[in-house]
């Protein structure tokens, strides 16, 4: 069985439960979006999936084998993780940072592909122009794209992306998610934490909605991203519309309520 699956994950920080009995499956040929309000446990769930955090209860299986039984380097050839923070302590050029994504393949036949793979990752993320510049002086968006290129260069079946679009302009947001989509179409499995619900609706096959550390809903974007459910979970009136031409779901806040309040006050 390939892919990544978590069963009955419970995580508590101190006394506060951050995740309670959450189960998700990241399947091949699928983009899974993890959405939910701040503090719902999205990033924690991604940490558990990537093996950074041992859950208090529950188990994560990578290709059918518990994470604890994997060697780190072997795991690095099966799943790549894009974290939210992008920091590099020494002034490595962006190109070197991308090439670091190839390190799990060192000493294996795949190492011969290094140059081609890095080249492709740079092309896919539009990072050729910045490759020679030190990572530290890049803009937030350029850093995010470089880090994303590094995860692509890792050439793993599973991609775990924590808010890959946060620092990006609308064009690059689309590029990144299109890459994730393309990865899934080629048979890869992708899990992506997103704040922008319209992006989740447009690019994901399945959406997992977290609320207060629990699974609030799971299913296709059309099933999960409904106005009543979102309004409840986000504690704010939210509208879900269909784009007049394309039919894409557009998820926007309904600002009338708060405006009226202000007017009356």
């Amino acid at each position: 069985m390939s892919g990544l699956s978590a069963h009955g994950i419970t995580v508590t920080f101190g006394r506060r439960p951050v995740l309670s009995e959450v189960s998700v499956e990241v399947r091949p040929r699928e983009v899974l979006a993890l959405v939910g309000p701040n503090g719902a446990g999205k990033s924690t769930l991604l940490s558990v999936l990537s093996g950074d955090l041992d859950p208090d209860e529950g188990e994560v299986l990578l290709n059918g084998r518990p994470l604890a039984q994997w060697r780190l380097r072997e795991m690095a050839r099966h799943r790549a993780v894009l974290t939210q923070e992008h920091k590099v302590s020494f002034p490595f050029p962006a190109g070197d940072v991308i090439r670091m994504g190839r390190s799990p393949w060192r000493g294996l036949p795949e190492e011969d592909d290094d140059e081609r793979v890095v080249e492709e990752a740079m092309t896919a993320t539009d990072t050729h122009r910045i490759a020679a510049r030190p990572f530290g002086v890049l803009s937030g968006g350029e850093k995010a794209r470089t880090a994303f290129a590094r995860t692509l260069a890792q050439r793993t079946g599973i991609l775990l992306l924590d808010e890959p679009t946060a620092a990006l302009d609308i064009g690059h947001q689309e590029t990144v998610l299109a890459q994730a989509r393309a990865h899934a179409n080629l048979g890869g499995a992708v899990a992506v934490v997103l704040h922008d619900l319209s992006l989740a609706a447009a690019w994901a096959d399945r959406v997992v909605l977290l609320h207060g550390g629990r699974l609030a809903a799971e299913g296709t974007p059309a099933d999960v991203l409904t106005a009543p459910l979102l309004s409840l979970v986000y504690d704010y009136p939210i509208d879900v519309l269909a784009h007049p031409a394309t039919g894409d779901l557009l998820i926007v806040p309904d600002r009338r309520a708060s405006t009226t309040e202000e007017e009356t006050a």
Partner: protein, 372 residues
């Protein structure tokens, strides 16, 4: 009015000129690194000959080379003409140069590795107090006349002292997976203060001879580097530098941050502990017989990085070579600047290294708004 939409997807190939920018940069850096290695090796060979000839008893170049040639069985060149020339070369000068090479290489590599583990350009054995920790333990060995491991006793004590201090600094200055520069430097001040007090206490407790040895420790000097001492520290240095080189690529990954390094297959905690032991080993190699030689581990890796870029394989290799070269030069100055006097080596390196530290602080403040 309509504007035509230029599709961004699929992302097109960048122009060849742009692609070449990265390739060219990589090639340029490789060439720079090769040139640097070559220059350093030539410099080392040259300085070895110069340093062997210099001193109270001057021995000309050709006689130094001739003496070496004869030792390896080649009958070329003249032997030293001075009656004590041959003896001086082989029993005083060469052992001292070998010690300078070991101490310089060890300290520079220890600095480079420490900066890598802490992800912090200010980490250095003497700045964070590892050198003084090692010196306290070695001082205790002198004062209490410990001799549990023969010639190795002082080195063993220095290693344990260094290891203990490094672990202490590591535990005190890390929070949430990284070290703040300020915390690290403050921890260093505290550790140095405590170590200074302990050394003072040891001096108070010891007899005149022990006191003199400890003063020599704090000033640092290569005076009296005999071959037996060289054979004690050489294996420590070789093992330490070899492990550092072996882990250099993982140090590169570590600069991405702990989590990302782990995602790329690095056992971060295991790597850190291993390299902390290596730093203690290298510091012990340097400190055991020569005392505290400060700032080499700070200055050398920084200068090297300006040429090689931050990749640790090149930084560690070039630091070892450059550290050795700089220490041979510094020691030659120390013993020839004032006739019939052996200046303390640690004093010289601090005289040069201290101001460099200022410059580094100012430069970083200007370029990056200081260290957070």
């Amino acid at each position: 009015m309509t504007t035509t939409f230029q599709p961004r997807l699929p992302a097109g190939r960048e122009s060849d000129a742009e692609t070449a920018g990265d390739d060219a940069a990589v090639r340029r850096r490789r060439r720079k690194i090769t040139v640097l290695y070559t220059l350093l090796v030539i410099g080392l060979a040259l300085m070895t000959v110069v340093a062997s000839g210099a001193g109270q008893l001057k021995i000309p170049f050709d006689e130094v080379l001739g003496s070496i040639a004869h030792r390896i069985g080649l009958d070329i060149g003249p032997l030293p003409s001075h009656p004590r020339g041959e003896f001086t070369l082989w029993n005083v000068r060469f052992s001292r140069i070998a010690m300078a090479v070991i101490v310089g290489a060890s300290l520079a590599v220890a600095g480079a590795v420490m900066q890598g583990i802490f992800g912090n350009p200010l980490a250095e054995p003497s700045v964070v107090g590892v050198s003084s920790g090692a010196a306290v333990a070695a001082g205790a060995a002198i004062v209490f006349s410990l001799n549990f491991a023969g010639d190795w006793t002082i080195a063993a004590c220095a290693f344990l002292g260094g290891l203990g201090t490094t672990l202490l600094v590591y535990a005190l200055s890390r929070s949430e997976g990284r070290t703040e520069v300020v915390t690290l430097v403050l921890t260093g001040i505290a550790v140095n203060a405590v170590a200074g007090a302990l050394l003072a206490m040891l001096m108070f407790l010891g007899d005149t001879q022990a006191r003199e040895s400890i003063v020599f420790w704090q000033l640092g000097s290569l005076n009296g580097s005999r071959w037996p001492y060289v054979w004690v520290v050489a294996p420590l240095a070789v093992v330490g530098i070899a492990i550092s080189l072996f882990c250099a690529r993982q140090l590169d990954l570590l600069s991405l941050g702990e989590r990302s390094a782990r995602h790329l297959g690095v056992h971060v905690e295991r790597l850190r502990i291993l390299l902390i032991v290596v730093v203690a080993l290298l510091t012990a190699a340097a400190v055991s017989f020569c005392g505290i030689v400060a700032f080499v581990g700070l200055v050398i890796p920084h200068l090297v990085r300006m040429v090689t870029g931050p990749g640790h394989v090149a930084v560690v290799t070039a630091s070892a070579l450059a550290g050795a070269l700089v220490l041979i030069c510094a020691d030659t100055v120390a013993r020839t600047a004032i006739p019939y006097t052996d200046l303390p080596l640690g004093m010289l390196t601090s005289l040069v290294g201290g101001p460099f530290f200022f410059w580094l602080l100012r430069r970083t403040r200007r370029t990056a708004g200081g260290w957070a």
